[in-house]
């Protein structure tokens, strides 16, 4: 194992894991610092150290934000899929809250990725938007998860909301592998995924560091959004006969469940 792959493949996720498990008491402070550090190093490297692309020039440097954003959006939405499946087998407010958090964070990062892609597309392809398969499937993804978020807002009964959004989350996730393989199945405008075997280390090292920085950001957002979602759930279902194992369901918790069974 050479030093470079240690610092770009193994170390960043390991540190992230340690921050989230062993040091989880201090994660509120350490995680933002770590995320900013990685994003800072990765972006400085990408913007100032890495050479410009031979064909696209400096415009290509937007990749160091565009690609990590989309990767992490897909990751967050995969987490949403996993939570949706888990919820159907083993209902728990924690799983439902994590599903809500991951869908929202995934949607935000996906939107950022598509926006940056559009900005990148204007100088390189001459248009902001084109109906290329990768772009089309990405647009479908964003709209599908907006529908998912809307569903969560429109259903008052928390149990029904959890089950239904799990079902919708599973159905919407069919799009994820299609997006990933779209550049391979239909070879069109959008370039294929770059891998270390096809690109120079000068490009993929800053890309990888930025990606882990975005991953730390996703973890940070997820952590906070999950807490909010769980608190909302517990405030909603402060009934003793709510789902088993929900922490807020004691007899001394006020029953402020106004939006009951429809």
């Amino acid at each position: 194992m050479d030093l470079m792959s240690l610092f770009t493949i193994y170390l960043p996720p390991l540190v992230l894991l340690l921050l989230l498990t062993v040091g989880r008491k201090y994660a509120k402070v350490t995680l933002p610092v770590y995320a900013l550090l990685l994003v800072g190093v990765g972006h400085y490297w990408g913007l100032a150290v890495a050479p410009p692309d031979r064909e696209m020039g400096d415009v290509q440097r937007i990749m160091y934000a565009h690609v990590p954003a989309v990767w992490n959006a897909m990751l967050a939405l995969t987490l949403n899929f996993a939570c949706s499946v888990t919820y159907l087998f083993k209902p728990s407010w924690k799983t439902d809250s994590l599903a809500e958090a991951s869908a929202e964070v995934g949607l935000v990062f996906g939107a950022v990725g598509v926006l940056l892609g559009a900005i990148w597309g204007r100088p390189t392809w001459g248009v902001y938007w084109t109906w290329d398969p990768r772009l089309t499937t990405a647009a479908i993804l964003l709209v599908a998860y907006m529908g998912y978020m809307a569903l969560r807002r429109f259903v008052e009964d928390p149990e029904k909301r959890a089950v239904w959004s799990a079902v919708v989350g599973i159905i919407a996730a069919v799009d994820l592998p299609i997006i990933w393989f779209s550049v391979k199945w239909w070879r069109s405008l959008h370039q294929q995924q770059s891998t270390p075997s096809t690109t120079d280390p000068a490009f993929w090292i800053p890309l990888r560091i930025s990606a882990y920085g975005f991953l730390a950001l996703v973890a940070l957002f997820l952590m906070h959004r999950y807490r909010i979602a769980l608190a909302e759930r517990n405030a909603e279902v402060a009934l003793p006969d709510a789902l088993p194992g929900s922490p807020g369901s004691g007899p001394n918790v006020p029953t402020n469940r106004t939006a009951g069974v429809a």
Partner: protein, 231 residues
């Protein structure tokens, strides 16, 4: 005491489908409304685009599928509204039948209704847009059936969800439209090939896409639907 034997999945689905069709036949409200809605959509396309017959002819397949899609949101919503009225769905759930039979019967019923609607819209389209059907009736029917099945399977799951939620009229299209984009694309392309001829023999690949789409979403609907309607 001998317990009554449970009814098989296929028989339960067919019984439920028969019940839905009987309701439909006795009122005939839904199909009538759908036909007029879809016809006026077709008509509106030709007004919105002006009297450019070449344009209308070239895009006729796409307009036909948009008309069917818009009509399907009405049809899908209606198919569950009748069940939620008077709590009929609770009765269905209490019956000794598989909940998946409810999905199959509803999805089949919606498919059937949409195919009938499509079959009625094609002659109207031929008259309005001046198109001719180049490929045979077999390809036309296959396109209609595969496309309507692709709309009906995810549509049935989402209609069951949306019809019980707040703002149901917004929610169903919001959930359904992004999902069925691949099916809409394939159906519209296949329909255009049916109308304009298929010199490169491409229609098979669009049928393949529709078949795969149907396989995924009929399977997912079949598996997930019981959880959607549980109480």
């Amino acid at each position: 005491m001998k317990r009554p034997a449970p009814i098989g999945l296929v028989r339960a689905s067919l019984v439920l489908l028969g019940k839905d069709l009987l309701i439909e036949w006795r009122t005939r409200a839904r199909l009538n409304a759908l036909i007029f809605f879809a016809l006026s959509t077709l008509l509106l396309f030709s007004f919105a685009l002006g009297p450019d017959t070449k344009l209308l002819e070239r895009n006729a397949g796409g307009y036909l599928w948009l008309a069917i899609l818009f009509a399907s949101t009405l049809s899908l919503g209606e198919s569950f509204r009748v069940e939620y009225e008077n709590a009929c769905l609770d009765g269905l759930r209490l019956a000794p039948a598989d909940a998946r039979a409810i999905f199959l019967s509803k999805a089949l019923g919606n498919t059937l209704l949409l195919v009938v609607l499509g079959g009625l819209l094609v002659p109207a389209m031929v008259a309005l847009y001046g198109v001719k059907v180049v490929l045979g009736v077999g390809e036309l029917l296959a396109t209609l059936v595969l496309g309507c099945m692709a709309l009906a399977a995810p549509g049935t799951v989402y209609a069951a969800i949306a019809s019980n939620a707040r703002a149901r009229d917004v929610l169903l299209p919001l959930l359904l439209f992004p999902l069925i984009v691949p099916a809409l694309l394939a159906s519209a392309k296949a329909m255009m090939l049916v109308l304009q001829g298929d010199p490169m023999n491409q229609i098979g690949s669009w049928f393949g896409l529709l078949g795969g789409f149907n396989l995924i979403y009929w399977g997912l609907g079949f598996l997930l639907f019981p959880r959607v309607i549980e109480d």
